[in-house]
């Protein structure tokens, strides 16, 4: 069973966001990394890029697949997790911790309310894997 921490918000594209003040930290879920298999590369945007909710912010690659990463909310990128360049396998090992991908300054805190909570996301992943 995939791990789904209670304190995060989730998107239908399997990204999570942790909100602290007007800052959001974004990564992909345990379910997502499981589906993707061994992650070999993570491509991130640049600091200062502005992201749209639902827009593509990067790519995550396994040996035989490349998948887009979608931003759960809108905002401006303030920080990137550069360690993923050297150790992309952290996405497999610790998707909610060491493998956070970027931080952004939220544009509209209201967007967070449209995301799923842990229980809703658990139902959602169950439904799509059936």
């Amino acid at each position: 069973m995939a791990d789904i921490p209670d304190d995060l918000h989730y998107s239908k594209d399997h990204e999570w966001i942790r909100v602290e003040g007007d800052t959001g930290t974004v990564g992909i879920t345990d379910h997502a990394q499981n589906q993707l298999g061994d992650i070999v590369y993570v491509e991130l945007p640049r600091v200062g890029d502005s992201l749209e909710a639902g827009g593509v912010f990067g790519q995550v690659e396994s040996v035989k697949a490349a998948n887009d990463l979608y931003s759960p909310v809108s905002g401006e990128v303030t920080e990137l997790n550069e360690t993923l360049n050297d150790d992309p396998e952290q996405v497999n090992k610790d998707p909610y911790g060491a493998a956070w991908m970027l931080r952004l300054r939220l544009k509209d805190a209201g967007e967070v309310d449209k995301l799923m909570n842990a229980a809703e996301y658990e139902d959602y992943t169950k439904k799509i894997t059936e």
Binding site: V40, S62, V63, E89
Partner: protein, 508 residues
């Protein structure tokens, strides 16, 4: 019982850089026979390299010969046996074709030699164009594209140029009709090529029977923005598109054009022609259908064939007849998409393909197709009891199976493919097309005899039994090769893409 290959010197060949010894030479050149110009007069020091080519190997001739001979033994190849890669058409590469491509009058001919000094080469290109036109039922041919994807790009650019001329260019260089329809079963090169011409790709789904879904096609065409359809026929699950005439009609009625990916022409040569089906433009793969060698990944050749209506847009120069027994390069096509390659295409491949066509003759071409389809049919028949066959229609030159039955025991397509190596066969195409989960696409071609087909079928059936009884044997395959399965994830995470002097030899 299969035992592991014994270690031999041929199994331990290092990189050539690791074999290098200062002072060794593998070449002979005549002495310089002109008065020497002083170095600084020849070229100022700032323009000369100063690294003395450090790291480039120093080896003897016999070092080079042994090096490549040894590593060559680690390759599977067509001459060793059946190479049943679906959609790749791995047929026998005749030595005669190799011989004639090496005739000095071809091999030593400079592409910028004057027309009168290259009449034989121009005639050869012209004649090949004529034959390919007859084989495809399409009026005009360009031999310029260097490979299938290149021919595809050329074909799509022709569609774009034709539509721009007919409909005018849209805003910001966007084509007025900007949607290129591509079935979900298509080769990845199709969408990549369409993208280069500024088209947006929309997917046409396939029916559960493995045919293009006509209703889905009609619906997509109704939007009025369709530039064309890129279709492979027989499609990538090995089935002839029974509704091909209707498919072409729907696209034409909607104002679009039909591009056919000719990767699977080995199922049709001498039996049916894309031009008669309503196709507007097609690329061929001389390295598939016309037996020019794959060479470990090329060179290929991807001639582009089209209707009279599209002819003005073909790349320049065109090779045309300029009178009785006289041929020339014609640049005077003002509507051309331009050039897609310097000079005139992979001429050496054209020589081989013409040799293939002429040694087969019209009846031989038809028989080869027949044999290719029959061989696939025998495999379809022989394996249907052991592997899940997702489509009921009789296949053309290739047949798709899946790992559905074996997966229950934890044995997947990749494992079956690797185990096939232990039985002395190259694996089939795996996990393609993408619409078939765990796909195994098998194309025997006409180049295998009955006995070998039976051996292949028996090997596959043996693997099916092993999957039931000793699944670990399959999932750990291959067991007979010099190296085992490689860690591709680690290779992609920290890519090492070249040798560097400081790297120590890590010989197996």
């Amino acid at each position: 019982m299969i035992t592991k290959a014994t270690t031999h010197i041929t199994q331990n060949e290092a990189l050539i850089f690791e074999r290098s010894q200062p002072g060794r030479k593998g070449y002979m050149l005549p002495a310089l026979d002109v008065d020497e110009t002083p170095m600084d007069e020849l070229l100022p020091a700032a323009f000369r390299r100063s690294d003395d080519l450090e790291g480039v190997p120093e080896v003897s001739e016999v070092d080079v010969v042994r090096h490549f001979t040894r590593i060559s033994t680690w390759n599977y190849n067509i001459d060793l046996g059946m190479y049943p890669l679906g959609s790749c058409t791995m047929k026998y590469n005749s030595r005669l074709n190799e011989r004639v491509a090496r005739i000095k009058g071809f091999a030593n001919l400079h592409p910028l030699a004057s027309e009168e000094d290259s009449q034989g080469a121009l005639q050869l290109l012209y004649e090949l164009q004529q034959h390919l036109s007859e084989i495809t039922g399409l009026a005009a041919v360009s031999l310029q594209p260097a490979a299938g994807a290149h021919g595809e790009m050329t074909g799509v650019m022709i569609i774009r140029a034709f539509l721009d001329a007919r409909d005018g260019v849209g805003e910001g260089d966007r084509p007025r009709r900007h949607v290129m329809l591509i079935p979900d079963s298509a080769h990845g090169t199709n969408p990549a090529s369409a993208h280069l011409s500024g088209f947006t790709v929309k997917t046409v789904r396939s029916t559960p029977e493995g045919q293009t879904d006509l209703d889905a096609l009609r619906e997509l065409c109704a939007a009025g923005d369709v530039a064309g359809l890129m279709l492979t026929n027989p499609n990538t699950v090995g089935l002839f598109e029974r509704n091909i005439r209707e498919i072409c009609r729907i696209v034409h009625d909607a104002g679009g054009l039909v591009y056919m990916d000719g990767a699977n022409m080995n199922a049709l040569v001498g039996w049916a022609r894309p031009g008669d089906m309503g196709v507007d433009v097609i690329h061929l793969n001389l390295h598939k259908t016309f037996s020019t060698p794959h060479g470990g990944g090329g060179p290929g050749s991807g001639p582009c064939c089209c209707t009279k209506e599209l002819e003005p847009y073909l790349p320049v120069p065109r090779v045309v007849r300029a009178g009785e027994d006289r041929y020339k390069l014609d640049f005077d096509y003002p509507k051309t998409i331009g050039r897609v390659k310097a000079f005139y295409g992979n001429f050496g491949m054209a020589v081989r393909a013409l040799s293939y066509i002429e040694t087969h003759g019209a009846d031989g071409l038809r028989e080869a197709t027949e044999a290719a389809v029959l061989n696939a049919r025998v495999i379809a028949h022989g394996l249907a009891g052991d592997y899940h066959k997702p489509f009921d229609d009789p296949p053309m030159h290739e047949v798709v199976f899946t790992d559905k039955r074996q997966a229950r025991k934890g044995v997947h397509t990749l494992d079956i493919a690797k185990r096939l190596i232990d039985y002395g066969f190259h694996p089939m195409t795996i996990y393609f097309p993408l619409i078939v989960q765990g796909a195994m696409l098998i194309e025997p071609t006409e180049s295998v005899g009955r006995q070998e087909i039976q051996q292949f079928i028996e090997a596959m059936r043996a693997i099916a039994r092993e999957a039931e009884e000793t699944p670990d044997l399959v999932t750990n395959a291959p067991h007979t090769t010099r190296i085992g399965r490689l860690d591709e994830a680690a290779a992609a995470r920290k890519p090492v893409l070249r040798w560097r002097p400081e790297e120590k030899a890590a010989v197996a």
